[in-house]
Assembly symmetry: D3
Homo-oligomer: 128 residues x 6
């Protein structure tokens, strides 16, 4: 339905974001996600700026943030998101052991979330 | 529908798990989740053993694992799970700043997951 | 925002459906779900007719259908739906043991669904 | 990202589980799900043991359990899970008529779950 | 598992619905969705009748209804549904600008839904 | 866990956003959502700015955007979001008839999304 905006078609706001993506990430090609978002230049700009702000090192380090991002994407079943942010996590230093432990937590949490609904567990007094 | 199994009603496998929960966690009361699961002693045992194995320090530390657990629970909208594992995260050393940064990642990932589906973004060649 | 349509306010299509609900189910009061749907009489009629057709005994018996309904509702985290169809399941003959085994399957399936996404498991040849 | 652990690479815990899968299920090849989980031998063991315990005949028969598993997988949109457990259901005796009736219940439950949220239906007194 | 029911195999209720789909929609081939549903003629009939009733112009116009349908499908991550109802939306007059603005709303709503759960926001007094 | 930031505690970026919310919306009190987000002033600013940009009249009018927002929130089961954006929709001119038709579309789309997964419907050639 929509087609990616190729780099040689980009201008104005889109070109600026494309350049920023490539230089911040030290990559030579803009990934499909951004090239599709470029169909809506304001969304591209908003999304890129949010990503830069949210994913930067703060109280949590880069790797932890990427692992959390992947955990959400698995829970939502978004293949592109799982693949691209697992890739990012590894590039930023995540090991296979870290990914596998994250997977185990995601599996467990999804199971327990549903057991809580199954048994209609009420919030404990000390949690209120 | 189901009622919690109180500590004074617990025996056999259930009592053993209750005792293990209280001693491993240094708490004096068994939380509602486990008291409800105790209606199915095998599920209680399986779930508690999995939790102990999965959430223990490994390549990822305790706090990171709890943050991932909460991120999944937010994505599933499970109030009990969000509250109990945010509590656990803080007890194990998570700061408010860490929680808030996790929340921001969860929000962003949920947004981007849906933008990927909106634009039907294809997996990049380098991710295959 | 919307208010339930009380039985003494019902007429026409709504009254007909209310009467059918009470006589088919041998109950004396119309449950909240139907009283809220009655704000849109066509939706009330469509939903009630679908429910009667879909939930009636066929290749699967009443209890199995109710258990499947609850399993879906747990996966979606819909409290009203879990409570009302667990109630229906028990009324139609489901035992506590059956409910608890269903809960265990729901927990397991939710965990495994996410492990499949975690490891990006491909469909086996024999399943295609 | 992760690669399946082939049967000739398996040893220790992984080999034991592989052998158990093949003999319990009377199959000659380990399905992809287990070969991917084998990247984390503890998760493989936990998951296989849980599956054996949870899916065995109890108050609910084999077929009913598989149908519930598929219903959850449809609600989560997990293709591998839908395919592999529909296959299992049929192998254990489920007929096409049973599968189709289950699909109809899953469709209906998903619709009604959302109508409950749309109209913000409150839990009936008799369900509390 | 199930195979589409081809038009030359259709008879009775299935043939009637197929004819109605083609004439109401001014198309010459029945789309895959309906050909698969035809495995369960009652579900085919129920689903087609509901669709005709629900998606017809009322207080909301055709385009708005299709956009809402796509928004739900994105949130559920259903590729077929996103593609077929984006196609329908465009056929009924939706512009690319309208689709892109809808995508932005869907992204935003998904983000904010999760921030509400993150911070456990309570319903404001004026909303009760 | 987190507490709302009251208006008399707000300063700097938070006070600016609070003032903008009240003046843009012609309201005298800041709703709970924004008072909770204010725990993370950057998230508050990002979220408010995105909301203003995304929800303003464009190719889609105000009411359509609010209806789409509510449709997503119902699909996610977020009570606060359903209530606050149904309220906003009505304030901007949505009638009860419009809301009820949207509910019917949301119910139908959720059902059909799952039937697509049930029958593993493949994308039609003309949709590719």
């Amino acid at each position: 339905m929509f087609k990616p905006i190729e780099e040689n078609e980009a201008n104005g706001k889109v070109k600026e974001v494309y350049d920023d993506i490539k230089s911040s990430r030290h990559i030579t090609e803009v990934p499909n996600f951004w090239r599709m978002l470029a169909n809506d230049p304001n969304e591209l700009e908003r999304s890129w700026n949010s990503l830069k702000q949210v994913m930067k090192k703060g109280a949590l380090d880069h790797v932890t943030k990427e692992l959390i991002y992947v955990a959400v994407s698995i829970t939502n079943g978004c293949e592109y998101c799982i693949r691209s942010h697992s890739f990012a996590a590894k590039k930023k230093g995540a090991t296979d052991e870290m990914l596998k432990e994250m997977f185990a937590v995601v599996g467990l949490a999804n199971k327990n979330n549903k057991l809580v609904d199954s048994y209609q567990v009420e919030v404990d007094e000390f949690l209120k």
